[in-house]
C-alpha cells in the first residue's frame, strides 16, 4: 500500500516540478480515483465472501431451508455490492467528470 502511495506521490511531484499544474492535477485525480475504487472494492469483497460462506454452510446443514437462504443471500450480496458501486461512482466522478 505504501509503495503505491509513494509512487503516486512521486508522479505528482514530477508533474509539479515540470511546471505543468494541469498535469499534476490530472495525476493526483487519477491516483485518487484508483485508490477510491480499489479500497472501496476490498470491503464488499470481504463482506460477500463472509456472507456466501455462511450461506453455503446453512444450505449444507439445512437443505430444506435453501430457498430462504438463497433469497437472503442474493439480497445481501446486492446490498453489499452497493458499497462497491458507491466507490465506483466516486472513481468515475474523479476520473471522467
Amino acid at each position: 500500500m505504501s509503495v503505491l502511495a509513494n509512487t503516486a506521490a512521486q508522479a505528482i511531484e514530477l508533474a509539479a516540478e515540470a511546471g505543468d499544474a494541469d498535469a499534476a492535477k490530472a495525476t493526483a485525480g487519477a491516483s485518487s480515483a484508483g485508490f477510491a475504487y480499489g479500497l472501496a472494492a476490498i470491503g464488499p469483497g470481504i463482506g460477500i465472501g463472509y456472507l456466501v460462506g455462511q450461506a453455503v454452510q446453512a444450505m449444507a446443514r439445512q437443505p430444506e431451508a435453501a430457498g430462504q437462504v438463497q433469497t437472503t443471500m442474493f439480497l445481501g450480496i446486492a446490498f453489499t455490492e452497493a458499497l462497491a458501486l458507491i466507490g465506483f461512482v466516486v472513481f468515475i466522478l474523479l476520473k471522467f467528470a
Partner: protein, 155 residues
C-alpha cells in the same frame, strides 16, 4: 449434512427476486429518464436510462449466475457469487469506459442513478420479501384500520 457437491432442487429464488426487481425497474425506467431529462436535458435522460439499464442487467446477470450454479452444486454457488462479483464489477467498469467519451454521456447523473436505482430497487424488493422469505415478491398485507363498533352504553 448435505454434501457440498450436490445440486439444489427446485427453481432458484434469486431468479424470481431478480425478475421482480427487473419488472419494477422497467416500470421506473421512463420516469427516471424523464427526471434525468428534466434536470440535465437530453444527455441527462440518456445517461439515466443507460445507468438504469446497467443496474437491471447487473441484477439479472447476478441472479442468472446463482440460478445456474444452484443446479450444479452448493459449492458452485459460492464460486459463482465470488467470481460473479469481480466479473460484474469489471463489466460495469467496461460499460462505463466504452461510453465515457460519447457526446450524450453526463457522468454525474449516470453515477447518481447507478447508486439510487440499485439501492431503491433493493429496498423496494425487501419490503415485498419481508412478508415471507419463502415466497419472494409476495406483497405484505396491509393492516386494516376499520373503526371498531362502540359498545352500547360506552362512549
Amino acid at each position: 449434512m448435505t454434501a457440498l457437491h450436490e445440486p439444489l432442487e427446485g427453481p432458484s429464488p434469486a431468479a424470481q427476486v431478480a425478475l421482480d426487481m427487473a419488472m419494477r425497474g422497467a416500470w421506473m425506467l421512463p420516469i427516471g429518464i424523464g427526471i434525468g431529462a428534466l434536470f440535465a436535458g437530453f444527455n441527462g435522460g440518456a445517461s439515466v436510462g443507460y445507468a438504469m439499464a446497467l443496474v437491471l442487467i447487473n441484477l439479472v446477470l447476478s441472479a442468472g449466475l446463482l440460478g445456474w450454479a444452484s443446479k450444479i452444486s452448493i459449492a458452485a454457488i459460492a464460486a459463482a457469487s465470488l467470481g460473479g462479483y469481480v466479473m460484474r464489477l469489471g463489466l460495469i467498469f467496461a460499460a462505463v469506459w466504452v461510453v465515457k467519451d460519447m457526446s450524450w454521456v453526463a457522468m454525474v447523473p449516470l453515477g447518481i442513478t447507478l447508486i439510487v436505482t440499485h439501492l431503491g430497487l433493493l429496498v423496494w424488493e425487501l419490503r415485498h420479501v419481508s412478508a415471507s422469505m419463502a415466497h419472494p415478491g409476495l406483497k405484505p398485507r396491509t393492516r386494516r384500520t376499520s373503526p371498531q363498533p362502540v359498545a352500547a352504553g360506552r362512549r
